[in-house]
Amino acid sequence: MQIKIVIGTIAFMIAMMVLGYSALREPARLGRFTNAEVGRSIEAGSEIFANNCTTCHGTDGTAQNCVDSTGNQIACQGLPLNYNALLCGDVSQRMTDMNWSGTKANYVLTTISAGRGAMPTWHEQFGGPLRPDQVQNVANFVLNWESETLCSAPVVTYEWPDQVTDFLSGPDVTSPGDATRGADLYAVTYGCAACHGAHDGSTPAAIGPSLIDIKTNGATRVDGMDAQQYVYHSILFPSDFIAPECPTGPCAGPPSVMPANFASRMGDNPQDMADMLAFLLGE
């Protein structure tokens, strides 16, 4: 019996020492695990992103390289996410543009959950296909693009002149624009055709008004604006003037469902605007 008491006591003491040893190492272990949930969440988010988001936002989130399910290069209809103006700073440029007063994480999460403009809803609560944890995973993945390299590049803010004539005669563009390049910008780079339809009428407008006759229509919409000024202004400030007829009935707004960020996107290369105008209003 005595030997049993000795063995039992020693075993119990060793067990308590092992427990104490693990307790001593616990702060370090907890430290290693603190961000593990975020890490795994980002991993899961990257897969959901690859399967659901890349057709509009691009494989690397820059909205420049979008392929459809068969592997064809298509126009990116989404906004860039791997992008300075979305991710950098506590209050990023895009949050300011959208008058968002919450946190950046909430901005991304809410946009994914409930949609925004042409962005569909993703959270099952709003009729989307994703569970809450999946939406959170995608949001964590998108936010993970923030890096020093991304944020050290300055945000380009181009000052657009009020009048299109000042713009076209200004030093930043070669006038007149290149309508051929404009056609490419319309169909692919900025993805205008997705909502406004192909300019040759081969695919009809889906959401926004058809722009086939904008050269004549545009001149009569707003007093004191010719077609060129009207189109120029409407690209920069989509909510200022609402077109009367959309494919699904009277156009909604203000605010317009058209993304309001073409001013900043085209600001990277103002020549795009000149080419686009040349294409839309071409002789």
Partner: protein, 561 residues
Amino acid sequence: MATFVEQVREMGIKQAIVTKADDVVERLTAGMNINDVRAALRGDEPRRPNPRLRPHADGFWLHIRPSFYHTGVTNIYPTFRLGWLSTFMLVWETITGLILMVFYTPSPLSAYGNMWNILGNVPLGQLFRNMHRLGAEVMVLVVAMHMLRTFVTGSYKKPRQFTWATGMLLLVFTIFLSFSGYLLPWDQLAYWALTVFISGGAAAPAPAFVNENIMLILQGGPALGADGLLRWYLLHVLLLPLLAGIFFFVHYYKVVLYGISLPPGREQVGEDTAKRVPKDERTYYIPDILTSELMWSALATLFLVAGALWLWDAPLETHADPVVTPLHVVAPWYLSWSQGWLKLADKTLVVGFIPLLLVAFIVMPYIEVGKSRRYADRRVGLTVAMLFIAAMLVSNWMGSPEFRVQSSPDREVSIQVLPEEGPGGIKGIPYEHLTPGTYSPGQVIDGNPFLTRGLELFQSAMYQQSCTLTGNPQWTACTVETLDNGTRRFSNFFTTDAMPDPVAHLEIVEVQPNLKELILHYEITNPDTGAVSKTEWTRPRHAFSNYEEECRFLNKSCATD
């Protein structure tokens, strides 16, 4: 009795305190004073009347315990302490489970997050989760072994048939307790193991109306969801522990009533002398059995604490996803045999057979009435038992991933090198050693033993799924068969569906800060048509994901080991 103050006046403060302490100890032990306790621990003969019997007569805790055992059952053989260990495991699981319950909410919205909170935010959380999970598996093992030894020593025979029957129920409760806890983390492993199990239950040979309702009741809806999780949680923490507790006491009451049966050789055939213990064959509970039980408890505690800390890590896969079925859904090892049976026979047949088997086990001692418990007289019974165990082991192996349906050869390589879940293969390599670049199988990377080891694993996985038609020394030569439809099939020693002269490589790309993608590329040229098929398999790996931590444990295999 004099009050304490009076005692102090009478015999002085020191003697009064000693008397008071003696009194307290005697009350707590329900009859043994300090000297009695010390004498018991020293192994002295008890005084008369024996104070060591009073805790059994007057105390609550020892009331159900016999005051002495037959010395013939106090050695390791014949009990192997398995009954005591089963009880210990039940208590162990209750204590660790109660602690885990504090950090758990049974809702699909929070359950999975709770697991990460337990791992990353609760001091000793991982240890307790591992102890609970390891304890659950050990408990199934111990209870099953307890049943086996009861059979082998013939202890189920008259008059202990009912003890055996309640023991069978306790085995079932133990398995259900272990399995019902499976669902609670709400990860892929949990979700799909339960989904398969429930769909099995719904295949019972009964009218469709009954099966549909079984399914509805077990899942709480057309699919496993919030209601189902709540139900399995309540089963796990309330109903099953309650049933196990009740039947434990019924079982143990019968054990005490009939006594633990002596080793078969120690009594005449047909005799049951366990309750007639001669004076010189008595081993008293206090102190001998008690110290023995405490010793075994201490040893089991040590094993479970150390095991949970170093050997065995409870798995946690990705969040449960009803629309993504993992490539290989596996049952826990103690139910693996049923998965093996499902590969042999129709589902309805198997599901109908299992309850029949259980009933057969329960009624077995009432039908098998051979009087002798001696091994030599029970050659048929013991042979049948050994054959049954062998059949169960084979069934278990057939239910294991070793014996699964093969998917395409490149997929088989991929899930070995970069599994969907867990830290296996290359995923467990520390993040900083996953240098971006393109690597071929078996390549040696100077100064990077981790990646070198990973590529070695890639090479050996490829070797099993590849063969060569061109004499490439990397692979074994293809065995070529022409099928009826004219296509050719390429085999090697391991598989009948090998890749002929594959070109494969591993690509590591950094796609985001702290996030890399590990991509396996395969390129196979069809030797008949010349058509090139390219496939790839991508797994993301984040710097914070801490797979390395899991690799420390014996039950997780990583390329870094």
